[in-house]
Symmetry: C2
Amino acid sequence: MTGEFIAVDWGTTNRRAYLIDAAGAVVETVRDDRGILAVGAGGFAAEAEALRARYGRRPMLMAGMVGSNRGWHEVPYVGCPATIDDLARAAVWVEPGTVAIVPGVSTFADDRPDVMRGEEVQLLGAVAAAMTPDDALLCQPGTHCKWAWIKGGRIENFTTAMTGELFALLKAHSLLAAQLDGPVAANAEFLAGVEEARRGDLLASLFGVRAAAVLGQAAAGRGAAFVSGLLIGADVAARSGVAGGDIYLLADPGLGALYGAAINACGGAPHLIDSHAAFVAGIVEIWRKLP
Amino acid sequence: MTGEFIAVDWGTTNRRAYLIDAAGAVVETVRDDRGILAVGAGGFAAEAEALRARYGRRPMLMAGMVGSNRGWHEVPYVGCPATIDDLARAAVWVEPGTVAIVPGVSTFADDRPDVMRGEEVQLLGAVAAAMTPDDALLCQPGTHCKWAWIKGGRIENFTTAMTGELFALLKAHSLLAAQLDGPVAANAEFLAGVEEARRGDLLASLFGVRAAAVLGQAAAGRGAAFVSGLLIGADVAARSGVAGGDIYLLADPGLGALYGAAINACGGAPHLIDSHAAFVAGIVEIWRKLP
């Protein structure tokens, strides 16, 4: 396809729309909280119509949870290894010529099934725009942190870790909650947590936070940074290719700084790249290749 | 001390009282939900008085969270290595000659602080009653699973893992909740979880449960057993001395069966011992040695 179009990164809780010109440049972008949970079944056509009305009735290409079984139209996953051409070929037109959805990617490697929806556009966009080499390890921190091994420009395999969700659970509901209400930064406490993670004994390291508080050994307000370091350190230490390798981080500056510090501590070299630019590069490439 | 007495294992949410005769045998026992959280500050003297009134005004020896800063009277921890004589020496009379509380035990070994209150009576009671050898690895599964390395009859060191609490958090509040409402038993799914734990990548293994469900690969109702195996497997696999060793389990039959299966899978030999008998043996020994 050619010409102006509307790109939408439509996730579970948030949505970002971009008006993109014929040269692939962003004319305008807006983020809101109309994620798929807020829209709900039956509401997607009207939401899409409103976006199209706003942006001159251009055709629209969407990625993310909008293509899941809780979204507008379920689009089957593309299996690994996956190229950007595969994503374009397997995209589904919800309204022919007008509205399409990009598939997610699945893997069954190493007897561990995994899925992504939305992240694949950033990943392959970063490669397509030469923000990373054609062989690279990419990391997208978040509630569910994605790690993708790129080989020859394809997503060869990937792993998702529940890092962010577990931190939120511990902070909201665990016995450690009282220790976790302080700030998180890539400071000495965070790095102590990363170091503790290298024992490979997360369940006991977590209780140690409680014990330190009981024994008066925990500095007030510093538990959150330690536990963040513990979880992110466990995530990073479990990944093959970190030690001695270049890691390309698709992250906002906050999470990017935390993962960068943990990667450094584990002997890797982090490189922060612009996740919005990567998404735009990916969605433009898919748009051009849409059958 | 000699003669009949009342022993109380007074925990956070539950309490068990025993009337014990001069020979150290249990005359009567009762369990209720009057844990320290239910009693609250200021209520302990009346609760203790009611117990003493019920059991012929015998003197009373208590262990557990009743000796914590949220209990009746804070009793300082005894440091490792700790013997049963140490516990007796450091017990505190709340009402001289009438009501005493056994201390908990703390450790600072390997730069990881840890604490216990109540479990030490079972652990050293099991050793005193020759339910275990004088050199042994003991395991008390639960919300916070305790592992104790006994050397020459002393608690040399111990580690607490948040195994049970994390399972409860995931079941109640996580994205995996829908997969975790089935039964848990030491079945093939449980053992598959134990095997998965040996990757040492808990954060990713947990997300795999979600991905398997999304991809239609998860048998309905079997996620709970798998995740239980994953967490208990991670707990067991992280302990030194399991492979090729005898592990003495102080557990109810349900958790005993789960930990036993995981220990077997990790190459250890589990031995289930009676945790109530161990408590009684320990508290009687401390009573006799009370200064």
